[in-house]
């Protein structure tokens, strides 16, 4: 079951088209997944792996990045990966053909919302068990799907936060060590002064002693 499909521009995470599964069961809260998907689109960048799967509870986000556009679908965990990526590939081919050139110029979110119609049709063919069997042959070529990295969506969404936490910790550490160093220096000088003072006292005492006792 494909619940949610989003097509977004990689450069700035601008959503270009989307389709939400609409039936009576959509009573389940898609809202949260939608906002996760939006965040995800923003996090992804050109360095992200071209294909990845992200776990989000009992759902999987399947993510395909091609030609500066990210294709994201939310499926139930039981939905075959092969099918999901075949579906995304399909969308990519069609979307790129229709709108590929315009992708970089649009500024409005969901500029290609009309692509929804196509998405829904495709979705139907992939979700329908009978047609799915027919697609099986095509999908054999997608063996490499097995190698796709699977990560937890929480990790992806929070990776940045973890890094920044590390960063703050490190900078805290460095400031602390700096402080330690200056403190140490200060202590050193203090002890040196003390030594000098002690020597001076001894010396003066000696002079006085010589002055009054020897003369």
């Amino acid at each position: 079951m494909i619940l949610l499909t989003i097509i977004a521009r990689i450069a700035d995470g601008l959503p270009l088209a989307a389709s939400v599964q609409e039936d009576e069961q959509s009573g389940r809260d898609l809202q949260q997944y939608q906002s996760q998907a939006k965040q995800l689109c923003r996090k992804l960048n050109a360095q992200s792996p071209a294909r990845c799967i992200l776990e989000a509870g009992d759902m999987y986000f399947h993510c395909l990045i091609a030609e500066d556009v990210c294709y994201l679908s939310l499926c139930e965990a039981s939905f075959p990966k092969k099918m999901a990526f075949a579906y995304l590939e399909d969308l990519h081919t069609e979307f790129h053909y229709l709108y590929g050139k315009k992708v970089s110029t649009v500024t409005r979110p969901y500029s290609f919302i009309e692509f929804d119609t196509y998405i829904q049709k495709k979705k139907k063919t992939y979700v329908d068990n009978r047609t799915r069997r027919n697609l099986g042959s095509i999908n054999t070529e997608l063996q490499d799907v097995q190698k796709i990295m699977v990560a937890n969506i929480e990790e992806v969404l929070q990776r940045g936060e973890a890094l920044s936490a590390l960063d703050t910790k490190a900078s805290n550490l460095s400031t602390l060590s700096k402080k330690y160093r200056s403190d140490a220096k200060y202590l050193n000088t203090r002890s040196m002064y003390a030594k000098v003072a002690a020597v001076a006292v001894c010396f003066i005492t000696l002079i006085i002693y010589v002055r009054f006792w020897w003369l």
Binding site: V20, D23, E24, Q31, K38, T107, R108, Y110, T117, K124
Partner: protein, 1168 residues
Amino acid sequence: MWASGREDRAMSAPGFTNLNSSSSSSQDSTPNGGAAPLYQNGPAQTYPYMHTPSGYYGAPPQQQSYPTIPAHSTPAPNKAPIMNRSHSANYYQNNQQHPLPQHHVASSAYSAPPSSAPPSQPYTTLHYSAPPPSNAQFNQQSFQQQNPPYATPGSYCGQQSYHTPPAQHSQQQQQQPSLVPAPAGGPGAPLYPIVSYPSAPRSSHYGTLSSYQSASTLGVLPTQTGAPLHQYSTPRSASTQPGHSVAPSSQPTVNGSTAAQAIVPRHYDQSHQASLSYDSYSGASHSSGGADADRPPSGTPSASVHSSPGHHQGGDTSSSTTGSASPVLNSFDSLEGGSFPDSLPPSSDMTNQAQPYSSYSYPSMQPAYQQRPSSHTESSPSHNQYGQPGYQQYSQPFPSLSQLSAALGGLSGVPELEVEALRPVNLLQERNLLPPRPLEAPEPNLSPDLKKVNCSPQTFRCTLSSIPQTQALLNKARLPLGLLLHPFRDLQQLPVITSNTIVRCRSCRTYINPFITFLDQRRWKCNLCYRVNDVPDEFMYNPVTRSYGEPHKRPEVQNATVEFIASSDYMLRPPQPAVYLFVLDVSHNAVEAGYLKFFCESLLENLDKLPGDTRTRVGFLTFDNTIHFYNLQEGLSQPQMLVVSDIDDVFIPSHDSLMVNLKESKELVQDLLTSLPTMFSQNRETHSALGPALQAAFKLMSPTGGRVTVFQTQLPSLGAGMLQSREDPNQRSSTKGVQHLGPATDFYKKLALDCSGQQIGVDLFLLSSQYADLASLACISKYSAGSIFYYPSFHYIHNPAQLEKFQKDLERYLTRKIGFEAVMRIRCTKGLSIHTFHGNFFVRSTDLLSLANVNPDSAFAVQMSIEDSLADTSLACFQAALLYTSSKGKRRIRVHTLCLPVVNQLSDVYAGADVQAITCLLANMAIDRSISSSLSDARDALVNAVVDLVTAYKSSVSNLQQSGLVVPAALRLFPLYILALLKQKALRTGTSTRLDERVFAMCEFKTQPLQQLMRIVHPDLYRLDNMSEQGALHLNNTVVPQPPLLHLSAERLSRDGAFLMDCGDAFYLWIGKCCNEMFIRDVLGCPSYASVPPNMSHIPELETPLSERVRAFFDWLQDNRAFSSTIHVVKDDASAKATFFQNLVEDRSESASSYSEFLQHVQLQVSK
């Protein structure tokens, strides 16, 4: 004097001025349009006419005003605006170069009349003016000279007032009352010193008017009309300075000029840093008076409009004669003080052209020109000119004047505007209250730049265009404070802004708007909560001018109505497609009524015009005692009908094939629509399971949201939501309370709230001949932001008029714009709070209106209270933001911002009262009251509103010891409108009214936009058989005559005439028994009265000039309303005339009192 000095400087270099003027004209266009063209270049989606929008909202009026003046000089009607300017420029030059001659002319005009003693001096003064140093100039100089001799405080006041606005107010007010009594004593005595200034310009206008009248057949017009004008004009001039009638003329100009200059410099300085001294501005505005806003309503912003005023004036010049006609004494005369006879005669003598100049405050224009070049702000010029015209509007009580104003259209604005609005009117004595043209919204008393950008009154109106400072003051005024909105109105031009960041206040989330203040380049101050916000970098770039660092030139800050393309932050889900579901009653009753065939035809015709894109989805559902679904899945050879007979637990038989993509399944849809009417033609099932059908519709639509259109022809009798008949026909005309105005069950309300939550709007078409309990059914639309249509006694054969209306409504309904999943929020300046909303919507949180669907024909009203004193601010602002998804899947935010002055004087509150808005708001409140309490309570409350107003005005503002009913002129129509309200179907008692019709009328009151509502409450009555060319509008090469409005009383009808009543949703053309044969032949195409068919409902297209004129007038009336109105030709002897006469609200009806009786009743109450 400061101002005068400036003028001199400006004047000193004539050549220079000329240049300026010419340049100014060019500039004119640029500022207005400046934004526009740029826009086009600009990035994303902007409507082609950016510049027009500005014009639309106010810029155009300025231009128009220009033309008017030139027109006088050279009465060439259809000049392009530029031409006009050039004229004016020439005029200007002439003045400077040959100051003397022109002045002479003017003077001569006056002199002729002077025969009467008092005027003589004025003329002389005019002559003076010529000699003076800078002489060239206009009246201003003359004015200056005059001042010393006259030493009239008023003139000084005027000037001073500019400098210190507040002072002006107070002065004016004070003077007014004090003066008033004096005039009463003797005609010559100055009634309104201040007013007098304007009088001069008016007088010229009058002249024009009078000509108009004269040209038109005098016989047609009531004699009174002519007289009043005279009085009006003359008294005014006289009043200013008794001795010197002429003086006023010069003075007005002075006012204008000074105001303009005063403004200009400031403006200049401030222009970069927005709002500075509002105070100073306001002062200026006072002096200058009304603004541009009125103009826009006229419709076509462009050249055509310009031409029209010019035309009028041309007519005017000749017309002055009427003015000369001796005053027919009205109550008015006595009030105003005598009119000066002398002034009148001159006008008649004058050659048309000459007079206009002399009398006219052309000077005002010129100053504008001069200044204009120096300061690039356009405001100043518009200011001056406007002021005077605005004046006219207010003068409306005098018929003649009214005509004038009509000619000038909506031009408005003058310092005296306020004074005029405050003029006490004794309703028991004055009978001619109606303006010649339908009333325009009053001008808020703002500085010209603010006025220029302010929101159109058609979109956003406040009952009080001057907001009282405290709740105590508001209570004292006894007027309701509220807003009337028409937020999704069809607009011809609208700036659309695409940007990544939509600039909003960080604390109150107000959208940036023209009334905020830029503290510097990087910071702006919110005008609602006064928080200082940063200007984002992106905002520094102006896409219109493609320049950087001019945040104040951004379109958001230049237009009070803008639309933003929302970013994805404003979306909870991807924008939904347009989804339409039609739920059709096919029971036996429906088949009998025969609507189905016409619905299918209409939908077939408009299938391609349904708003939407390639995602648009449609579905159909029919019901009688079962529910029928239609599978229209692409690929089927023909539609499949799926019948669900289990109406207790409705389920959806198939999930994805019932709502289908319109584009892909178009053939199937067409197939279905052609076969539907015959499919059920033999249906004998009489029950109606509306409730279950609606439940099914809800289930079908809930995944996407969208629009459900329900057609119902009888009382639902099966399943959930079943209703019983509650109407007792014997009680229809009872004068006691009316029962059952509320819903019988909350089923429909609950379902509507569910729908609203799923973004489903339900529109109801009720075509019922029997009682169908609309009070209950309407809830389904009320809470889901739908609209309601009701066709009582609909039958496709027996009631062709309803059928035609149904077809026309349906066409509009199917093709009009629609917004989905919308929310609207109204914000207002800190201190004001909104506490009640009227309209169809669901209030989701305290101030968030949830609108599942929003359509361009529904309006909203809100009531406000003043929680904190507004003493620390001079402006109050209101912002309505409507976030919606267009039918093309674009998420957009439409933002309207209205700015109004805050006043601390009761008289100012009255001066700014908007009688139409007040009436509409009271109507809404009365409907609420009648449902929550009782009808009689609501009626009493309405009468009390009038009584309270009269009492409050008597005790606080007017210190006239006059007996009778005295109200400020701005509210002179208030009792009339209230009486009309009481006679509406919704609120009347004693007359037989079906419950459904009453409830429907109530629904209409809640949702109709103000203009439409006012036409329903108080229809416009015109006489058509003797329309003249005078004062006609020239639009796109057609001449649209502008007959004057008539009072809604049978005494205004005559058997030899043909009268048109414009009731908003219908036109009634009443043909008198002895109507001119020519009219019947040329317009109706019938040889004689007897041969006019009884049920004629169209005007044949004949080639005669009269027919063309009448049709042009009809088209013009039709032009700016959404639903096309049907025309009923009513013969005097036809039975249909009852409806016509029912609308004559000033007359006594079987159960309701006449206007004069009503007034007496009010007076009785007041004196208690």
